[in-house]
């Protein structure tokens, strides 16, 4: 149990609004080991980005975070002050966001920003920092690294900017990287390259990686384990093979049928879809959150909160009261 890079127990994020409290994230337990990729997948508004912000303690001021445990590399960082947290962020815990243009400062050169990171966390400056930054740019496959250091973010293409972000994140050799939709803004050809790069570097530096995405194709190709989120809760988790080959929860099954797959779905034939909409999370919610959209719904689904329970294999868990074998017959 001690080799978890990150261990989160019972994380909730509540946002007080004019017409009640929005329970955006409700009781999330996740853990990541070294060298492991955890993908958090879900639709917009399911709380996956808030989960990552809560882990880094970067939530908007209005949001209230409650946690039972938050351990990084075996030590609890739950009670850390703002100053201690900012020592950790960008140092032991790296972040990569969706849009590299907004996370890089347009007024400073790439080199300036990379050297600043080293100065802040590692107390390295001058020539040494410059050389380390150049080395890291080469590491992420950027050619003519010395010239790039003197360029501004707007002079680089989207793919290059995301490489720079990755290089910056790696400078302090973090134990954990949290990447929130790192390739969504990029072209498909560049997406494959960036994901491959992330995977190689993760193996090399033996880091834990949390990847947040809505793209099931990305999940299938890069994840070790998958957590499927729906309306603020994890509805199913397991290894990537378990989730894709043997999904248990009706929502996971529905998602799998929604995506066209060349060679599997027949062109022109209707795709599966999930009717209805995500429920409002304002106020207290009892019962299964997917009940309104589920084709297998029973009265029991709405009467009580549903707990995560283990599938036949203990590494897979799902939040549904139905028996998967009975579901397989219906589906």
């Amino acid at each position: 149990m001690t080799d978890h890079v990150l261990n989160v127990k019972n994380l909730s994020v509540d946002i007080p609004l004019a017409d009640g409290v929005l329970h955006a994230v409700d009781g999330i337990d996740i853990h990541v080991d070294r060298g492991e990729t955890l993908c958090i997948v879900g639709e917009s508004g399911c709380g996956k980005s808030l989960t990552s912000l809560a882990i880094m303690d970067l939530l908007p001021k209005k949001a209230i975070r409650t946690l039972a445990a938050l351990d990084l590399g075996g030590e609890s960082i739950l009670d850390y002050s703002e100053r201690q947290m900012s020592d950790i962020r960008g140092n032991r815990m790296g972040m990569i966001f969706q849009e590299p243009m907004t996370s890089l400062n347009p007024a400073f050169t790439i080199g300036n920003q990379m050297v600043e990171t080293l100065h802040r966390h590692r107390n390295i400056s001058g020539r040494a920092a410059h050389d380390l930054a150049k080395h890291m740019l080469e590491k992420v496959g950027i050619t003519a690294a010395a010239q790039r250091l003197n360029q501004y973010p707007h002079q680089l293409s989207g793919g290059l900017r995301q490489r720079v972000m990755i290089a910056m994140t790696l400078l302090c050799e973090p134990e954990l990287i949290i990447a929130d939709e790192p390739t969504t803004a990029l072209d498909v050809t560049i997406q494959a390259q960036i994901l491959l790069l992330l995977q190689e570097l993760q193996t090399e530096f033996d880091m834990g990686l949390i990847l947040i995405t809505h793209d099931l194709g990305v999940v299938a190709r890069i994840a070790t384990r998958v957590a499927v989120m729906y309306a603020g809760q994890i509805v199913e988790q397991g290894t990537v093979e378990q989730i894709f080959d043997n999904p248990m929860h009706p929502y996971t099954r529905g998602l799998m049928q929604c995506i066209p797959v060349p060679g599997k779905t027949r062109p022109g034939e209707p795709l599966g879809s999930i009717p209805g909409m995500v429920p409002s999370l304002i106020g207290r919610f009892t019962g299964c959150r997917f009940a309104d959209r589920c084709s297998l719904v029973t009265d029991a689904c709405r009467s009580d909160d549903i707990a995560l329970r283990d599938a036949t294999d203990a590494t897979q868990a799902y939040r549904c009261i139905l028996d998967p074998r009975a579901m397989a017959k219906v589906a």
């Binding site: 639709e43 498909v188 050809t189 994901l195 491959l196 890069i222 894709f244 060349p262 779905t265």
Partner: protein, 325 residues
């Protein structure tokens, strides 16, 4: 059923880019000699990386941008001679982001009815009836008639955008990334809807997308664009089973199908997309091509028919001469 809806030949569109106060203008060829024929009922997909000119080409077809050279005709009439309103009755766009393409201060009913009023329709009862019909067609409940865009979900907004495009019953619909702003479960609903509407109204689609899985599902023919040129064009099935151009192969390799037993692909596309202001010599793809030969940098390949596809690549030069001889 082989009525030609769109015929474009040798279409180019240049933009002049300012390089600063004293340095004169530079030419950017966004679309560079495109030939295209689309027949009724066809779904043509334009695919390619950002900056390859697919949106510029769509704008030319919509009559929103004049072409620099070449000719475009819709239903047999040259596009430059069709009046603006008549053109809007023939061809309509659906844009990517339903959050920014709907006016937040207008009700759904008036958004969908606007194209009719623009066409000079004053009979409010007729407009109302047609708006309700169209809302029913795209699966929007009538109670949303007086709602505003901010009360709708992403999928519903995209349905409004589709209803607005269809209210005047156009022949051709140009969809620019119709599903990429939507969630997976909503994306499939919109794709199913587009498919049903095509059959019901006998529409012709031009779909711009970077999601090749979506393209495979909905398109009947695919045109792959690279730096303003169509480098390969073929039926969807043959393009996906038997891609000819090295760029098409690399694009197909980078599609991440949800199969956990395959790892990440290595597309070998090394260098990044070239700067369109300063395109590479010869074949524009040669700096990234795994099959590049010395003469690829010197001469641009000419288009040729190879098997079921139209392809622009020196790899197939030999086969062409063999055929000719």
């Amino acid at each position: 059923m082989t009525e030609v809806m769109i015929n474009a030949s040798g279409v180019t569109r240049n933009f002049s880019i300012s390089r600063g106060m004293f340095r004169g203008k530079q030419l950017l060829r966004a679309v560079n000699g495109v030939d295209l024929t689309v027949t009724r009922g066809e779904v043509l997909a334009l695919v390619g990386e950002s900056g390859c000119g697919k949106t510029t080409l769509a704008k030319i077809l919509l009559g929103l941008l004049p072409q620099t050279t070449g000719s475009v005709s819709l239903c047999g009439t040259p596009i430059d001679t069709v009046p603006r309103l008549a053109l809007a009755r023939m061809i309509q766009p659906i844009f990517q982001d339903p959050y920014s393409s709907l006016n937040p201060r207008k009700s759904i009913g008036s958004i969908i009815g606007l194209p009719m009023r623009v066409q000079g329709e004053n009979d409010q009862q007729l407009i109302d009836r047609r708006v309700e019909e169209t809302m029913d067609l795209v699966g929007l409940p009538p109670r949303l008639l007086n709602a505003f865009p901010n009360q709708l979900s992403g999928g519903q907004r995209q349905r409004v955008a589709i209803a607005r495009a269809l209210v005047n019953r156009p022949q051709i619909v140009v969809c620019d990334e119709p599903t990429s702003a939507l969630d997976v479960s909503v994306q499939s609903q919109i794709l199913n809807l587009l498919n049903d509407l095509r059959q019901e109204l006998n529409l012709t689609y031009i779909i711009i997308s970077h999601n090749l899985a979506v393209v495979e599902h909905i398109a009947s023919r695919v045109a792959v664009m690279y730096l303003g040129r169509i480098v390969e064009q073929a039926d969807t099935a043959s393009l996906f089973q038997n891609p000819q151009h090295p760029y098409t192969r690399a694009l197909l390799d980078s599609v991440l199908t949800p199969d956990p037993h395959l790892g990440l692909p290595n597309t070998q596309l090394g260098a990044s997309y070239p700067n369109p202001i300063d395109p590479p010599s010869g074949c524009a793809f040669h700096p990234r091509c795994v099959n590049a030969m010395p003469h690829c940098a010197a001469r641009a390949p000419s288009g040729q028919a190879h098997k079921a596809a139209y392809v622009e690549c020196h790899l197939y030069d030999g086969t062409e001469t063999a055929k000719a001889g």
